[in-house]
């Protein structure tokens, strides 16, 4: 129907190459560290963020939502390691809890958007014909549609809870995943064993799930890692427009929104640390994702 563009992720892994030679996990890990110093660095950041988000209750020294008017806008000190914000809340504690929000928003949106895109993309490629044609148009619409309108409508209708923010961020991710997956799946569709499965009279869902999905998993996973970072950034952008997670929930984008606008010069720690947290996390995820791509992409690996 359309010209298939060689998306880097899509062309990176052709279906035959997904079998990874057996190696011990330890050796594989070591090899990864040696070959991918940047990726390892990224992985470390991601792990640290996961630990912070997962163990927030034990790590954070203060209640992240407790206003303390006796300690407003205090500079970093031994008590408040990264200072306090305009409500006297401990910034370190809010960052730690914010990691949880970021990961929840980031991963939920990425997984949700990714899985919907995956299912639709594979189904579209498998069934082809009218289904594919209509599906392609839906993707086109979603792809071209400005995010701000979608986000605003979702937020205006349902309000600004974490769940609604996830929905607003998920929607634009669906078509991007759907596109890539469809392209990869189209390549798989012509492969003999899918034909064979069809000839054997396997059900549609079985063929799609058992034979096609596994073969588009490589580009899908790479895409997913990119989505997590994009979702975290999208949350920050929505926050800037006042459409993101709301006070007093600790969230990085939210901390940045008020902080960067008002306190960039008088209390810079309010604006700087959440910004760094977002940057580092997205950086870590992207570096790790790149490394993952290189590791999965056999052409790169064998070089």
């Amino acid at each position: 129907m359309t010209v298939t563009l060689p998306n880097p992720a899509a062309t990176a892994a052709s279906p035959q190459d997904t079998l990874v030679p057996k190696r011990t996990a330890w050796a594989a890990a070591l090899a990864f560290v040696r070959r991918q110093p940047l990726g390892t660095f990224g992985l470390v950041i991601v792990v640290v963020m996961f630990l912070a988000g997962g163990l927030a209750e034990w790590i954070a020294p203060f209640d992240p939502e407790e206003n303390d008017f006796a300690a407003m806008m205090e500079a970093p000190s031994l008590v408040h390691w990264l200072g306090t914000d305009q409500f006297g809340r401990d910034i370190f504690s809010r960052l730690v809890f914010g990691a949880r929000t970021a990961l929840i928003v980031g991963f939920s949106s990425a997984v949700l958007g990714g899985v919907i895109g995956l299912v639709m993309g594979v189904a579209s490629a498998y069934f082809g014909g009218w289904f594919d044609l209509i599906f392609q148009r839906v993707l086109d619409v979603l792809m071209a549609f400005p995010l701000i309108i979608l986000a605003l409508a979702v937020v205006a209708v349902f309000g600004t809870g974490v769940f609604n923010v996830i929905i607003a961020i998920t929607i634009p991710l669906v078509p991007r995943c759907g596109r890539v997956v469809r392209a990869s799946a189209l390549a798989v569709r012509e492969v003999p064993y899918v034909d064979a499965a069809r000839a054997l009279g396997f059900s549609h869902s079985r063929i799609v799930l058992r034979h096609m999905v596994p073969n588009v998993l490589a580009p899908f996973l790479i895409l997913l890692s990119a989505f997590v970072g994009q979702a975290i950034l999208a949350e920050a952008s929505l926050s800037y427009l006042g459409l993101g997670v709301q006070e007093p929930v600790p969230a990085w984008g939210l901390m940045l929104q008020g902080g960067a606008e008002e306190y960039a010069t008088t209390a810079p720690w309010i604006a700087v640390f959440p910004g760094l947290a977002i940057m580092l996390t997205v950086l870590g995820i992207s570096l790790f994702g790149d490394a993952l791509r290189d590791a999965i992409d056999p052409k790169l690996r064998d070089r």
Binding site: Q86, T160, G242, Q246, P248, T266
Partner: protein, 534 residues
């Protein structure tokens, strides 16, 4: 009164208030262009009679005259009004029911024609009794007006249905611009997209969404004014840009009001080059529980919401981060009709002993079976001070075990939620121009009388107390009547919670002289008395 120097203000509100420099201390200099920021996107139209946004006033007020106004050299006064187009403030006759104004002779519109009482009459007729197809936003302010008459070219007479202290302040409303009758007769909508008045500046150009420019009107009737050669207002709704612009002297000032953080950073970075003026603001956020939703139909629950809030400790703290400062009741704190601190402290939500107050709140909740209540606080997507107030309240309510989630929505859905009664508790606002407590407090009447009272309760007693206050002409008796209405609203029925009044902070480059702050960002915006000391 509220003028403070920038250096003093650096002490985060600890600075002492010093008296204003007498107006005649320096002789104004002629010339120069004032570049100022208009903290909004372009207004929907330039028709002041129709619009309610300050963006219209900040953009177009310099091009128009009004009948009467607050004194430009003492705009902070809440009781004094002076003539703009009239020759002297009249004494009412007919038991306070007739006001006769003489119009200044020889005033010229910018097109060269002469302004007469007919133009004034046509404009006021349009404001008070708008013809079919014309929207006048403030009709309800003039409910007391029976007739407007123009017996000759120099006279306009207002006849009232009943005598009230609310009339003169309503007449001084800053949106009541005088248009040319001939133009109105031809096209009632002409003034929406065009500008032609008799004010201190002549309109020169408008760049949609970007800037509006004006040049000095040499025929202006206030002798010697305006001092400036030209004005330029630049639209910018993002705060960071505006603060940066004042710091870098891309603009000399803005007139709405910036938060304390902006003041602090400007004082820190620009030092002597910036002067700060501050004032209480005739605006406040009102917390309105939805009486149609359980359990907020229960006065005990509403009282508990009020009792949980530590206004006396919260206000000074909030004043460091948000555009709020002074604790008050339903009347603007600067007005003679406002409650004193002692009077306030008798009502729920203002008790001096916060521990006792919170204990009572918990007791009431328990009694009402609403312990650990979980609800949504609907708020407007505006940082200052809406979201700051909301975040503060949620923290206060948490202390009596309430679990509140903030639901922030854009302006349209926010209005719609209030109008449709689609909320649990909402952060509403009451923002008025001229300090006119008798009208401003209409907000707390039942919805059947005042459509913008969003609590949606029926309360005949409230209406009775309000009407007594409105028609009382003796100041002392009126004050007592106001207390009764206030106590009923805030304490007995706990219809609403008043959060600290907004606080206006205006930084200006120190070469800007002559402009004085007032309790409203709608007031005193014709810029005629501003001059530049450069």
């Amino acid at each position: 009164m509220y003028l403070r120097t920038g250096l003093l203000a650096a002490g985060l509100g600890l600075a002492a208030t010093i008296a204003a420099v007498p107006a005649g201390a320096q002789t104004p200099k002629r010339g120069g262009t004032l570049v100022y920021m208009i903290p909004a996107d372009s207004p929907p139209s330039f028709d002041g009679h129709r619009e309610t946004t300050f963006a219209t006033v900040h953009a177009a007020a310099p091009f128009y005259s009004v009948l009467i106004r607050v004194p430009p050299d003492n705009p902070a006064s809440t009781t004094e009004y002076v003539c703009d187009l009239c020759t002297e403030m009249p004494k009412p006759t007919d038991d306070g029911k007739t006001y006769t104004f003489k119009i200044r002779p020889g005033v010229k519109f910018h097109d060269g024609s002469t302004l007469t009482a007919k133009d004034v009459g046509a404009s006021w007729q349009r404001i008070v009794f708008p013809p079919q197809g014309v929207t006048s936003a403030r009709v309800s302010y003039y409910a007391m007006v029976d007739k407007i008459e123009v017996p000759d070219d120099n006279t306009i007479v207002f006849k009232l249905k009943f005598a009230t202290s609310a009339f003169l302040p309503a007449l001084a409303d800053p949106f009541t611009w005088i248009y040319k009758k001939e133009i109105l007769d031809k096209d009632q909508h002409w003034y929406e997209k065009n500008i032609m008045g008799s004010g201190p500046f002549k309109f020169t150009s408008y760049d949609v969404g970007q800037a509006i420019k004006g040049a000095r009107n040499p025929d202006y009737y206030h002798k010697g004014q305006p001092y400036l050669d030209a004005i330029e207002g630049i639209f910018a709704d993002k705060q960071a840009v505006r603060v940066d612009a004042i710091r870098a002297d891309r603009a000399a000032m803005e007139f709405r009001g910036l938060p304390p953080s902006a003041r602090d950073s400007l004082v820190k970075e620009a030092g002597k080059d910036v002067v700060i003026q501050e004032s209480d603001w005739n605006c406040g956020n009102i917390i309105t529980p939805n009486h149609k939703k359980k359990p907020f139909d229960d006065v005990r629950v509403r009282r508990a919401l009020a009792l949980a809030i530590d206004q006396w400790a919260g206000a000074p703290a909030l004043s460091k981060i948000a555009t709020v400062k002074t604790v008050g009741g339903i009347v603007f704190p600067g007005s003679p009709l406002a409650a004193t601190k002692e009077e306030l402290q008798k009502m729920a939500g203002y008790w001096p002993d916060i521990e006792k107050s919170r204990a009572e709140a918990r007791r009431l909740l328990k009694e009402a079976g609403a312990e650990g209540l979980k609800f949504e606080l609907t708020n407007r997507n505006v940082d200052q001070p809406y979201k700051f107030v909301g975040t503060w309240l949620i923290g206060e309510w948490k202390k009596i075990g309430l679990n509140v989630e903030q639901k922030v929505v854009p302006t349209g859905p926010w209005f719609q939620a209030m109008r449709g009664g689609n909320f649990d508790v909402v952060v509403d606002a009451n923002c008025q121009s001229i300090v006119n407590p008798a009208l401003d407090t209409g907000k707390y009447l039942p919805k059947s009388i005042y459509p913008e009272s969003y609590g949606d309760y029926d309360d005949p007693k409230s209406a009775e107390l309000y009407n007594k206050m409105l028609r009382e002409s003796d100041p002392k008796a009126q004050r007592a009547a106001m207390r009764a209405y206030e106590t009923h609203t805030l304490d007995t029925m706990a219809h609403a919670i008043i959060t600290p009044y907004w606080f206006r902070i205006i930084p200006e480059r120190s070469y800007v002289k002559g402009w004085k702050i007032s309790p409203s960002h709608y007031l005193n915006q014709d810029l005629a008395n501003i001059w530049l000391d450069k």
